[in-house]
């Protein structure tokens, strides 16, 4: 105990913030890849694949991320698999993000107008050509604003990695607090840093949404 907040503490927080960003990127990348596969499975022509992927999404969306974290960090070692905090946090986030992004992106695929799918089929494009050259370019445009918005959720949820001992922003705040015991001050600083990370993304997502809306209105007017 003792001492006051100094530059070293702030450096430590900055380091934690970098890990928060790193972990968010891991979640976005891993969850993005898995989520893309989930989205494709959700619109698959095979009924079983659709059902299985829908079941996966329901299971994950019905479980708190915290429990998934505990399950990977404490549960897997009980089965004889050793995991580091980074692995546990990264894997949990990947699973969590994949279910949500998969569901968001499925909606985006489905909101590409039906005639576009039919026209592509009428032009005798193969399944993969139709996807890559016709549907995906349009779906990406629709998907951008909600995906950027979801990145805010990812950043906020990385704070739960602190419970498995991964030293990101929230955990580094706890560590500093253990030595200084000025919880209100420290958690306010932490909150401000999270806000500084998330708010620009929120604004950006909102702006993209507005622009997208306007583009669609112009399209309809034309």
């Amino acid at each position: 105990m003792g001492g006051s907040l100094n530059a070293n503490h702030l450096m430590f927080l900055g380091y934690g913030a970098l890990w928060t960003i790193g972990l968010s990127l891991i979640g976005l990348l891993g969850g993005g890849i898995a989520g893309f596969v989930i989205a494709l499975c959700r619109i698959s022509p095979s009924r079983i694949v659709r059902l299985l992927s829908a079941g996966y999404v329901q299971l994950i969306q019905g479980t708190p991320l915290l429990v998934i974290m505990f399950l990977t960090y404490f549960g897997l070692p009980a089965l004889g698999v050793t995991v580091s905090p980074l692995m546990a946090a990264g894997a949990s986030l990947t699973i969590f993000v994949s279910a949500y992004l998969g569901e968001i992106w499925r909606g985006c695929f489905e909101s590409v107008p039906k005639p576009q799918w039919e026209a592509a089929e009428g032009l005798a494009l193969s399944r993969s050509q139709r996807m890559m050259k016709v549907i995906l370019p349009q779906a990406v445009q629709i998907a951008t604003p909600p995906t950027v918005g979801f990145m805010v959720q990812i950043i906020k949820n990385t704070s739960l990695a602190s419970v498995v001992g991964f030293v990101e922003l929230a955990r580094s705040g706890q560590i500093i607090n253990n030595s200084l015991f000025e919880p209100f001050l420290i958690y306010t600083i932490i909150a401000v840093i999270y806000f500084a990370l998330c708010y620009p993304l929120s604004l950006f997502s909102h702006r993209l949404e507005m622009r997208g809306g306007r583009a669609r209105i112009e399209l309809e007017a034309a």
């Binding site: 009980a78 704070s159 602190s162 929230a170 958690y187």
Partner: protein, 227 residues
Amino acid sequence: MNLNLDFAAIFERWPAFLEGALLTLQLAFIATLLGTVIGVLGAIGRRSSHPIIARICGVYVEAIRNTPLLVQIFLVYFGLASLGLKFSAFTVAAAALTINVGAYTTEIIRAGFDAIPRGQIEAAEGLALSRSQIYWHVVMLPAIEKVYPALTSQFVLLMLASSVTSQISAEELTAVANYIQSDTYRAFETYILVALVYIVLSLVMRAGFWLLGLVIFPRRRRLGTPL
């Protein structure tokens, strides 16, 4: 990998799980109820013609939506303590969850208000409805009806998020699981079981909201629109 799973040892503890699940539902119920009140007031505030009120509501919504729940819980927990106020972990958890979900509800209900066509209000004025009648029948109810699905999924997310309050030792479901796994050394079985309980709870909540929707929006029931 040595797979010797023993779920029986965990099932034995079902009374503790049940108690935890009930506490989780209680937390969710309190926060949902109070959060709805905050949401309605906040949405009215955000659309207020008074710039300061609108600004305050806007800052509240953005501050909550752009910071993690975990940090909010710590802030409420230690903030109240540093003011010299002592509350039980359950009260603090309920307060933090209410503040959190209030911001999301504000934003959702505001979207509902914004979706009410201007012409509807003008028509109501033309029919000589009073101001309060217009507010209740033409703006409030249809707005909430429109955003009801979004609201209910937010409340289910809230129930799941209440697991985070285990970090300030509120004795809800996740805290019970942490205790049982440290007692039995059966972490995998415990958390699998707890995950299943959460899934059941979220299905129960969804079904509950669906039934509630049938009761409070009879017009929708008649139209056969899915909730």
